[in-house]
């Protein structure tokens, strides 16, 4: 709980004070205003979104096409919606609801702003990465040890063509179809070892599921 609290306090401070300091007495590259209320809000919002997305990418253990679609999709949807909300058309139709007209166009074309966003998201994520890495080195969990071993054993890649002849050994296709190399494990008789977690392999290729036929 304390770790969560610390992480969130730290993130909140970064997400406010970095844009604040970057916008203090700053102007655009053609001299006009950028430190106004609406641009500052947009900057803080975008920083937050980027930081959250990067954190999400880190936490996703299993990247499929679906994951990719949703992460990049959500980022592009954010920008699409922002630009739509701040466009001329929306302002002219619903004047009082969308007063932020022109803000996205005028502030997101400043290199200053993008550098701030980059700095903020990296600064939010770096401690998490460092902390996890240190934990993995000093106190590896069983997951980590297994993954480490898997990487070592995956170097001599097992042949993908497996023809298990044992008809009676019925394995769940779901559990073992993820892993490459488990075929060996299973058929060598060590299948009785109970693996506490379903370790996923790093490399996936179209593997014949060692299903009994």
């Amino acid at each position: 709980f304390v770790r969560c609290m610390l992480h969130s306090c730290y993130s909140s401070l970064i997400l406010f004070f970095i844009p604040w300091a970057a916008m203090y007495d700053t102007v655009r590259d053609d001299g006009k205003d950028i430190a106004d209320y609406q641009s500052f809000a947009l900057l803080a919002q975008t920083c937050l979104l980027m930081a959250v997305n990067v954190q999400l990418c880190l936490d996703t253990h299993y990247w499929t096409a679906v994951n990719q679609f949703f992460v990049w999709g959500s980022l592009s949807a954010y920008f699409a919606i922002t630009f739509t909300m701040y466009s001329n058309g929306m302002f002219l139709i619903f004047t009082s609801v969308f007063p932020f007209i022109g803000t996205a166009r005028n502030s997101l074309n400043q290199p200053n702003v993008w550098l701030t966003i980059l700095l903020t998201s990296i600064l939010c994520v770096l401690p998490v990465v460092a902390f996890r890495f240190v934990l993995m080195q000093l106190r590896p969990t069983i997951n980590d040890k297994v993954r480490y071993k898997m990487r070592k054993e995956a170097v001599p890649a097992p042949t993908p063509r497996r023809h298990p002849r044992k008809v009676s050994t019925r394995r769940s296709g779901y559990a073992f179809s993820h892993a490459q190399g488990y075929g060996e494990l299973v058929t060598s008789g060590r299948f009785l070892l109970k693996r506490p977690t379903k370790s996923r392999s790093t490399l996936f290729s179209q593997v014949d599921s060692p299903l009994a036929k």
Partner: protein
């Protein structure tokens, strides 16, 4: 047997159940509830798994450190090359030239108070020079203040002109007539006039030409703010039936009678003021000093005089007023923070990478011998 093996990767299969030795004859009769044997539904999609190994994390730290430090240096050097000059003309101290104007301010005085503030520029300013007025301790980001405006009225909507929104209270009507432009933001428009004079060595002074257009955002000037009555040039008639804001000396259609493109709601000083600032200390663009066509500096070094028509009272809330002259670069005005931040983060990253490398070396050997408990 070969047929059975080949069938396991068909796109759709009714029955995922594997029965040894049986034919497909009876399989099609019963519709099974098992999900299809496709890659998507059986979660066999090709995937990639990011693991935080030493091979990925340590280079990443070093690379980030190595990229950030040059960026930071570039930003810092650029910021240092920007020339900026700031002068406070509030008149709070007795020795200040504007002290009398500040002390004797009254709301209904018809004569304006003038004061002159001399200053010296050590270095010449090249290229376009931007003149800003800065205010301190002025909370333009107070919520009630920010909401106190009517954007439809400012967009030239005729019905909103005569009937401003309720958000503008108490600056909505005055003497029974609706106020145009309504609201507290418009009411507190900055109305000091600043002029610059260059003093030659022989004592004569020349006025420096100040450009008052091109200071507001393009979208603000051309889309957000429109005069009522469209492109009809007679603004006095267009604003018939409305009155000026309480604290203004002139009505809105007299903000710049000489230029119809800068009069009424589309007056650029007004637009710049209406773009509320985010922080209590802010600066707003006032005028632009264009660069000279030949190679002479725009503002040569030497003595200058700032003539102020002191109209804006800031004493009641301990605010300060200042005038800022600044050049501009690709990263905006003078702000060394981003440069320093990048350098700091880059070096911290690099240092952290080194520390993690040491930790990794020490403990990796321990891991190699560790065995997975059975």
């Amino acid at each position: 047997i070969a047929a059975m093996m080949a069938s396991s990767y068909n796109a759709k299969e009714e029955d995922g159940h594997h029965s040894s030795g049986s034919s497909h004859g009876g399989a099609g009769a019963v519709k099974s509830k098992k999900p299809d044997n496709t890659a998507f539904k059986q979660q066999r999609l090709p995937a990639w798994q990011p693991i935080l190994t030493a091979g990925t994390v340590l280079p990443a730290f070093f690379v980030i450190g190595l990229i950030f430090i040059p960026i930071g240096i570039g930003l810092y050097v650029t910021s240092n090359n920007i020339k900026e000059f700031e002068i406070d003309y509030t008149g709070a101290e007795v020795s200040s030239p504007c002290f009398n104007c500040a002390k004797n301010f009254s709301w209904n005085s018809t004569t304006s108070c003038n004061c002159s503030v001399p200053f010296t520029l050590e270095q010449p300013f090249e290229s376009n020079v931007f003149m800003y007025y800065g205010l301190s301790n002025f909370y333009q980001n107070h919520r009630r203040y920010v909401k106190s405006r009517d954007d439809s009225q400012l967009n030239g909507d005729r019905s909103s002109l005569k009937n401003p929104s309720k958000e503008c209270e108490p600056y909505r009507t005055s003497d029974g007539l609706p106020i145009a432009p309504c609201g507290a933001i418009a009411n507190s428009l900055f109305n000091d006039t600043l002029e610059l004079y260059y003093i030659h060595s022989n004592g004569s002074s020349t006025a420096i030409p100040l450009v008052k257009k091109g200071i507001a955002w393009w979208t603000d000037k051309h889309v957000k703010f429109r005069n009522p009555g469209g492109s009809n040039n007679n603004l006095t008639a267009a604003f018939q039936g409305t009155t000026k804001p309480v604290n203004w000396r002139k009505p809105v259609y007299e903000l710049d009678p000489s230029d119809s493109d800068n009069n009424g709601f589309i007056n650029e000083d007004f637009i710049v003021w209406m773009r509320t600032a985010a922080l209590p200390t802010f600066r707003k663009l006032y005028r632009i000093i264009q660069k000279k066509p030949n190679m002479t500096p725009t503002l040569p070094s030497g003595k200058y005089l700032l003539e102020v028509t002191y109209n804006y009272p800031v004493h009641s809330f301990d605010g300060r007023k200042r005038m800022i002259l600044s050049t501009i670069s690709w990263m905006g005005g003078k702000n060394p923070f981003l440069g320093i931040a990048y350098i700091t983060v880059g070096s911290v990253c690099f240092f952290l990478g080194v520390v993690l490398l040491i930790i990794h070396h020490k403990y990796d050997n321990r891991n190699n011998s560790a065995d997975i408990p059975n």
